[in-house]
């Protein structure tokens, strides 16, 4: 029991500490590719620290929904991360909720975030909420088809079991179904984490914002929680991508040496994926909002093809 509690705490610490680093790496790497100096790898930590200590302004139109939202968003995202194996093949809470619970916990956080956007009474909040809910809705079929492909391949929706099934067949990721599902999920990752070409996290023009427009009225500690939750959500989706499709190196238990190797490999896999995401971002221009459904339709078709190839190639 103590070991179990400890594993949860270690997992939590890892997720909380690693997620700003992924964001920081993404920004720094993009800056370097664009031959800028960039803000530095550890800037997100400094930002969060500063925001948590700052004062905040609550809009006078807002109700308790506005106050509850940062907490609900943070907690649901954090819980979702506990359902996914990161350095050990057994995620701490994967028995209590599989991949469907991950998707729906993230949806619960988003539900409140969108309400928080509407609660301020400004047009920008409503605009952000409307766009965020639209894009997440049309991303859902692609996400679910990719998830189904993975779950059907492993015969389970429990992500620990999925990862362990992947471990026992190390070349599994080369199967066409897995590659297609990976591609579909990658498109969903871009859309869900608000990356270019779907959304621009660094934009300063309200009318082009999606995620940022929703949280325009948040400041201080609340903004810190929301930013941190966004970073954790990005880590959650990236962990699904790297550990479900490329689970090699995951440690079977908490003995130190395999865990360290596993941690190293996990960081390396995340690094590669972040580089790909950053390259996609710097080589594309932001799409018009009504082009996004086409991108997500590609994701849907890829997911459907992944399933068809599961059935055709039995793998």
């Amino acid at each position: 029991m103590i070991e179990y509690t400890l594993s949860i705490l270690v997992h939590l610490a890892l997720v909380l500490l690693l997620s700003p680093l992924v964001t920081g790496f993404n920004r720094t790497f993009k800056a370097r590719v664009q031959t800028r100096r960039g803000p530095g790898l550890f800037q997100p930590y400094r930002d969060l620290y500063k925001l948590l200590r700052k004062g905040m302004v609550i809009p006078e139109t807002a109700s308790w929904i506005f106050t509850a939202t940062p907490f609900i968003l943070f907690v649901t995202t954090l819980l979702a991360s506990l359902l996914i194996p990161s350095v050990t093949a057994q995620a701490p809470l994967s028995l209590f909720g599989g991949v469907l619970a991950v998707v729906y916990l993230l949806a619960l956080g988003r539900f409140f975030l969108a309400l928080g956007g509407l609660d301020t009474g400004s047009s920008f909040g409503g605009l952000g909420s409307s766009r965020e809910m639209t894009i997440s809705a049309i991303a859902e079929p692609a996400l679910m088809l990719a998830v189904f492909t993975v779950a059907i391949g492993a015969g389970s929706t429990n992500l620990s079991i999925v990862a362990q099934a992947g471990l026992s067949q190390s070349w599994r990721f080369l199967a066409p179904s897995q590659m297609l599902a990976f591609a579909a999920l990658f498109i969903v990752l871009i859309a869900e984490t608000g990356r270019i070409p779907v959304d621009n996290p660094a934009t300063h023009l309200e009318l082009t914002m999606i995620h940022e427009a929703m949280i325009l009225e948040y400041s201080g500690p609340y903004l810190a929680l929301i930013e941190w939750a966004a970073a954790i959500k990005q880590l959650v989706l990236m962990t699904i991508l790297v550990n479900v499709f490329f689970p090699f190196g995951l440690s079977p238990d908490w003995s130190p040496v395999p865990v360290l190797i596993s941690l190293g490999l996990f960081l390396f896999k995340l690094l590669l994926l972040s580089i790909i995401v950053a390259l996609v971002e710097v080589t594309n221009a932001k799409m018009r909002l009504f082009r996004v459904p086409e991108l997500l339709a590609i994701g849907f078709v890829l997911g459907a093809l992944a399933l068809v190839s599961t059935f055709l190639f039995q793998g």
């Binding site: 909380l16 948590l52 200590r53 700052k54 004062g55 905040m56 609550i58 006078e60 308790w64 940062p70 907490f71 943070f74 907690v75 819980l79 028995l95 209590f96 909720g97 599989g98 469907l100 619970a101 729906y104 949806a107 619960l108 988003r110 539900f111 969108a114 309400l115 509407l118 609660d119 009474g121 400004s122 409503g126 605009l127 909420s129 409307s130 766009r131 809910m133 639209t134 859902e140 079929p141 996400l143 679910m144 088809l145 189904f148 492909t149 059907i152 015969g155 389970s156 929706t157 429990n158 009225e217 201080g220 500690p221 929680l225 009504f290 849907f300 997911g303 459907a304 399933l307 059935f311």
Partner: protein, 682 residues
């Protein structure tokens, strides 16, 4: 021994007495408010008795039969409380009880309060008729009860008959219901001919005794007949017309349970009268489910009338229920009783869950309607400050209907997904592709539902009031709050305590497929819900909820350590430097759904009209008028030609409808002769 029979009969008796008392109060012109209160308490008593009867029947597994001869051939006043009936009766009595409490306060205002006796008479009569529909064991008696539901609910819908919209909605409901009953009637006759009896027990498995062609015809007739009531697309058009115009407590029961009589009929036919069905039948139900779910939610998104929006969501949820039923039928066809049981549990559980949260949402809409005096969301806003409890209950309903954890909607959608997932491996050839595609579209439906309820809750309750009515809204009386609180608590209880509820389905799946799945669906000392086995996947709403509460320590600790001393000021929302934020700056419901209206433009065919008035330059308009509407595709492309066709035929029929009694007597005589010649062969 639980006195099931006594409780059941006493419940019916209370309903009947309350209905008579209501009628006599109306005839004596006693319109005092206490009439309504007492009759609502009577409904509550009746519902409570029925509730305990159903719980008893489900808990003990006892089945009771009871019948009275009628003296009319084929008709017995027979009732049977088997597990399936008891489950639906449980749903009915639970919702009926909460709505009865709500009605105590609700009937103090509004149109129904002018004739409380008459309203309560029909209200109790409808509860009585619904109980009989769910428990009748004879085809003729079932149809009589069915028609009684139609008639009583029609009168309740048209309570506000002075408004033309109400009369039209009611008439459409009546017409569509009659058409549905006609289809059902023929379907039942075909089955009864095969079984040689009108008793439900004799009809068990009678679908196979028919030749394939006739069996298929009977199946289709019954599916579409019950489908009208359930509101599957394209037979749904009465639903968004009739539900919103009814008083809100009636709308709540209409969406919560009256349309479920269609689902009950389908469950009875698909899993009792048919021991097995061909693959196409299961596929038809699955596809009808997917289409209804997706189109239902898409149309709901375009509504800014709060009650019409909820009515379209009923269509969506009926679709989700049918996805469960359709996959159960497919699994049975391919010989997987375990999976069929899983999918049936998903469908039935969603039936109950939808009843609870939809009832809650309609009651919430009723409170809003009474508090703010409008159904139009564009005139609401900021109600969370004036109606905090209603807002909280509506929010719980909104989270539940969006299928978000840890509430009850999540649990039944989770089971539906698991059924669809299992379908890929368990069915041959291309049939298997239907399951994951259905799953993906279910995911889309659920996400769109979440978007729609962000809109419904956000525009109605949050930010600034958009009209004077919304500004002066008042919270509902305590009885209405208690009614909603009961349903909201049920949403939470059925979500967190799902593992303790699942065993209820054991006898139902046992009767349908000979499998008691519920033991396998629960694991880990009643903590985990599983998809047949732990390996296939498991979820625990209770642990997730506890973990969410526990994890709240993390942000709270961070705030306590770092941000506790930081100042917290209240200031105006950023308005781009304009002089003050007004309600005109807020996002509207129409604007909120604009991106989806454009993305699904091929379906909606939106039309908009902008007129600007200006003095000097077109860049400085004095006033702008904006109108936008979507094309009601089914109404214009299917029902309009149908209506024109029926009227044309009716115009020709007029020639034989002379109005002369002699002619009619001659028709009757000729018909009698023909029947004697062709009908009596022996």
């Amino acid at each position: 021994m639980w006195p099931i029979r006594e409780l059941y009969s006493a419940g019916l008796l209370v309903y009947a007495i309350a209905a008579l008392a209501g009628l006599s109060a109306y005839l004596r012109k006693t319109h005092a408010a206490w009439v309504a209160s007492w009759l609502c308490y009577a409904s509550l008593t009746g519902a409570a008795l029925e509730f305990f009867a159903s719980v008893g029947a489900l808990a003990t597994g006892a089945e009771f039969n009871w019948s009275l001869p009628s003296g009319i051939p084929f008709l017995h006043y027979g009732v049977r409380l088997d597990p399936l009936s008891a489950f639906f009766n449980l749903t009915l009595s639970l919702l009926g009880a909460c709505v009865a409490v709500y009605s105590v306060g609700y009937l103090k205002h509004g149109v129904a309060h002018r004739r409380p006796g008459l309203f309560c008479c029909f209200f109790n009569l409808m509860l009585l008729a619904l109980t009989l529909v769910f428990t009748a064991s004879n085809v003729v008696f079932f149809l009589i009860a069915w028609e009684l539901v139609v008639v009583t609910s029609y009168f309740l819908v048209v309570t506000d008959h002075e408004s033309e919209e109400t009369r039209e909605g009611g008439m459409l409901y009546m017409l569509m219901s009659r058409a549905g009953t006609g289809l059902m009637f023929v379907g039942f006759l075909l089955l009864a001919t095969a079984a040689g009896s009108m008793e439900f027990q004799a009809l068990h498995g009678s679908g196979e005794k028919l030749s394939p062609g006739v069996g298929a015809a009977a199946f289709l007739l019954l599916f579409f007949g019950f489908g009208v009531k359930a509101g599957i697309i394209p037979l749904h058009i009465w639903l968004p017309a009739a539900h919103p115009v009814a008083p809100s407590n009636v709308s709540a029961l209409m969406s919560g349970i009256v349309i479920k009589t269609g689902i009950y009929g389908m469950a009875r036919v698909f899993f009792d009268f048919y021991g097995n069905t061909p693959v196409w039948a299961g596929m038809l139900v699955l596809v009808a489910g997917v289409v209804s779910a997706l189109l239902g939610v898409l149309y709901a998104l375009m509504e800014h009338d709060l009650k019409r929006l909820l009515a379209y969501h009923s269509i969506e949820n009926i679709g989700i229920i049918l996805m469960g039923f359709g996959s159960a039928m497919l699994f049975r066809s391919f010989g997987h009783p375990q999976l069929a049981a899983l999918a049936l549990v998903a469908g039935l559980f969603h039936t109950l869950n939808h009843g609870v949260f939809k009832c809650l949402l309609f009651l919430g809409a009723g409170s809003v309607l009474q508090g703010a005096g409008t159904r139009n969301m564009e005139e609401m806003g900021g109600l969370i400050r004036r109606m905090p409890w209603t807002a909280l209950f509506f929010l719980i309903g909104a989270i539940a209907i969006s299928g978000l954890p840890p509430l009850n909607g999540f649990v039944s959608e989770w089971f539906t997904y698991q059924g669809l997932l299992a379908g890929f491996g368990a069915t041959p050839t291309l049939t298997r592709m239907a399951f994951p595609i259905a799953g993906a579209l279910l995911a889309l439906t659920a996400a769109l539902a979440a978007a729609c309820f962000v809109k419904a809750f956000g525009i109605t309750f949050l930010a600034l009031p958009r009209s004077e009515n919304a500004e002066s809204a008042i919270e509902s009386p305590i009885s209405m709050q208690i009614g909603m609180a009961g349903l909201a608590a049920t949403c939470v209880a059925l979500g967190l305590g799902a593992t303790w509820f699942i065993p209820v389905f054991a006898p139902i799946t046992q009767n349908a497929f000979g499998v008691q799945i519920s033991g396998q669906l629960v694991a880990g000392n009643g903590l985990l819900l599983t998809a047949g086995s732990l390996h296939n996947g498991s979820v625990s709403p209770l642990v997730l909820a506890i973990a969410l509460l526990g994890l709240a320590g993390v942000p709270l600790a961070m705030w306590f350590v770092l941000g506790r001393k930081s100042p917290r000021t209240i200031g105006p929302t950023w308005d781009c430097g304009l002089p003050g934020l007004t309600a005109a700056n807020e996002y509207t419901a129409t604007a909120f759904s604009k991106p989806l209206r454009m993305i699904f433009g091929a379906l909606f065919r939106p039309r908009r009209e902008i007129q600007a008035e200006f003095d000097v330059s077109p860049y400085y308009p004095k006033a702008i008028r904006f109108a936008s509407e979507i094309q009601p595709t089914f109404e214009t492309h299917i029902y309009e030609p149908l209506r024109v066709g029926i009227l044309a035929i009716a115009a020709r029929m007029r020639k034989i409808q002379t109005g002369s009694i002699h002619a009619y007597l001659a028709y009757i005589f000729v018909t009698l002769i023909l029947l004697l010649i062709f009908g009596v062969r022996e």
